[in-house]
Symmetry: C2
Subunit: 450 residues, 2 copies
């Protein structure tokens, strides 16, 4: 599973007139050279500072909410959960009502689909640089609220002459930390020459998939877009599913109806058990995520210096997809999972999904608990990948795909359902179905030989 | 368009052993007899009372929100809209986080699909009784928070042995008046004997569709469920659409991204320009909807006497679908329309949608304005139908379907798109796409000869 264990894809003779060869990275070795060069070229410093020292960010005296003086970007507010009408708990949450653009440009070079990927710095990344989509921009970014440089390549995703749209869908992000956050996931296919800036390279799609196996390399934004792109020949693969799609939709509707939670925003000042201490928003027991301040100095971002809040989890998350072949068709055991920050509360998550701090022992089903502990099934994929480094500080999740035999338990409870891979791909045409952790794992599945 | 103008469907020889003939209503004449009898049998009084005299409903001293002491049912709260981060306006809104069940049982009798419909009283109905789904129950109803009688036929929709599920999807309701309201729309097909209580009758589906042409007869809850049921032979009709479904989804995503509104709940006390006067929540100019109190006495509801708030609009709404054949395929001109109370803000609405109090002159496009004024196109359908009588008092909308020639304007602006009828039927398998007014009109379209 280490970086060195990856077999480099066979070099291809690519040199189409329409693509500058210097902007194509075809092998793992070429990628590593470019990546090292990007590390040398970047200048990026992140310093922790007290929230009270952020520029232009203030705690509202009435609500205690932390926000930017422009009213843009995002705020840190409170979130209250009621169960059956009764208040159950509250926590801070990141509220970013804007819809951003996550877009990947693709192009055939010598018959192989290539993606224009970006070496992008984010303040919360453990390793500074991660491989990111062609465009990854909040609305505040791309409408230039902070008066920075224009977002490169944005015109391919928002203009009318943007090429063939392969993916265009709003998808949710972390329901444990975000309030109703969605981004527009786009894949656009182009034909003509697209000049690649130094931070950008055309990578064969199979190479991008292989890079997913390297810890903390392909960022969350790239993973969600990659998951939404139907694999080649996806149309032919339909059939042989354990449950008809109509039955899956009905099961999912039932799960949503069953969920008697209700979440709402409240003033951050009203969240119980949290205080602003040492310039951070922390919980009294020091066990949950905190909100910290950061000062960022960067050489190749839209603006070169800024401060912002970040959410810092304590510990590492875990997300596991249990998979098996049923009658030769790849199936995944999905879970209908309420998350307090999701717009529609319930989406389909992986078989196991534990937030940092949650323990495996909390999993009800004994077989799934054993899978989560790594004691059952064959691990087909395992890597630690980062969550969005623009909002989260060092937020890491262990992603695993575990294969089980066909005689493995059917549905362990009414919250679980075996769904064919192609059915999930179909559902990804629409929002509100597959959560970000499941989408990350679906992207990772593409790195498997099959 | 009047009740008398309807041609009765030909009587069919039905008398299947599995269905008690006395519970089947096959012709308009039979329907009228049953309906008159139901009017005689019901006892139903609605009195306006000041909100302060409601039993178990109180204004919260801190927020001014109006709620039930159980924490269940619904609340009347404030809603604030921000545009690009700046507060634009606020209004009261009905907040009902629970998901209710709207379910219609269907059954083949002598080869004709029949629906088990209910003569149901709702306090806000102009005419007391309307034709309603088999089950129309809030979660508080069917979990018996108010300790009333059990909801009839609920077991066919929530149990495991519920028959063949033809429709099962969460759909939104009025985005102008509700906050994030959704209900579960269900159609379940049964085979065996289902005894029909006096308020229930089996009606041939074509008869139900014809009854839609009668003012204020088929209620909103029935209309949304009927719209979600694919017409017979729907699968064969696919093809010949002006735009590929992928392109429609991309256009729709673009419209959502463009919408820079953000809505949030605020305390009712913080809504500007509204006061509690004369026991009602009214706006200072007396031009917008108000919240009134009602005391209800009923003979055939789960409980026989209760009080509740209702939203009373001033004036009548208008919803018009412009339709034409494109290459022989029925298309509808839909509008991507933000509504402040919708969970996902933007859904597909009819070509024209005006809330009570909004004027036709506000419609930007001159051709669509002419259609709205009734000066362009051929009216294929026109009836005044009621919105949900359990929450709204005398809320009426004029629903029209207007046919235009194939050379009628293409898309008048980027907010409009011609979508084939079968494409809308496909989208109705999912929530968050087609709004309640458009769904009402889609049900009405079923009443047309084609």
């Amino acid at each position: 599973m280490s970086e060195r264990a990856i077999t480099a894809p066979p070099p291809v003779s690519r040199r189409l007139a329409a693509t500058d060869p210097a902007t194509v990275v075809s092998t793992l070795e070429e990628f590593e050279r470019w990546w090292a060069e990007r590390h040398r070229a970047g200048r990026f410093e992140v310093d922790r500072i007290p929230l009270t020292e952020l520029d232009s960010w203030h705690f509202d005296p009435a609500t205690g909410n932390l926000g930017h003086e422009s009213g843009r970007f995002f705020t840190v507010e409170g979130l209250q959960v009621r169960f059956g009408g009764v208040v159950e708990r509250s926590q801070p949450v990141i509220h970013q009502p804007e819809i951003g653009v996550l877009g990947i440009l693709v192009k055939e070079i010598d018959g192989v689909p290539h993606a224009l990927m970006q070496a992008k710095m984010e303040p919360g990344n453990v390793n500074v640089l991660q491989l990111s989509p062609t465009v990854q921009a909040t609305r505040s970014n791309y409408t230039q609220v902070h008066r920075g440089a224009q977002t490169r390549y944005l015109e391919y995703f928002t203009g009318l002459a943007r090429g063939e749209v392969l993916v265009d869908v709003l998808q949710s992000e972390q329901g444990a930390w975000f309030w109703h956050k969605r981004n527009r996931n786009l894949v656009v296919k182009v034909d003509g020459e697209v000049p690649a800036a130094p931070d950008f390279r055309w990578l064969p799609l199979p190479l991008v998939h292989r890079l997913l196996r390297i810890d903390n390399l392909v960022n969350m934004d790239a993973r969600t877009v990659l998951a939404c792109l139907p694999p080649a020949g996806a149309g032919d693969a339909a059939g042989g599913a354990r449950h008809a799609t109509a039955d899956i939709l009905s099961w999912f509707t039932e799960a949503k109806t069953r969920c008697d939670w209700h979440a709402r925003l409240i003033p951050l000042a009203d969240v119980g058990g949290r205080t602003v201490a040492g310039g951070e928003v922390v919980d009294d027991e020091r066990r949950r995520f905190r909100i910290i301040g950061a000062r960022v100095t960067a050489g190749n971002r839209e603006v070169s210096r800024w401060t912002q809040p970040l959410l810092e989890p304590r510990g590492q998350g875990l997300a596991v997809f249990v998979t098996k072949l049923i009658g030769g068709v790849r199936h995944l055991l999905v879970q209908a999972r309420p998350e307090i920050g999701l717009l529609d509360l319930v989406e389909l998550g992986p078989t196991v999904q534990l937030s940092p701090g949650e323990d495996v022992s909390g999993i009800e089903d004994p077989l799934i608990r054993e899978v989560a502990r790594g004691k059952l099934g064959r691990t087909r994929f395992s890597a630690v990948l980062s969550e969005e480094g623009g909002r989260f500080f060092h937020a890491l999740t262990r992603y695993r795909v575990v294969e089980v035999d066909e005689d493995f338990v059917t549905e362990p409870s009414r919250d679980y359902c075996w769904v064919a891979g192609w059915q999930l791909t179909e559902l990804l045409r629409h929002g509100h179905y597959v959560n970000i952790e499941a989408r990350s794992l679906l992207a990772c599945l593409r790195s498997l030989p099959s």
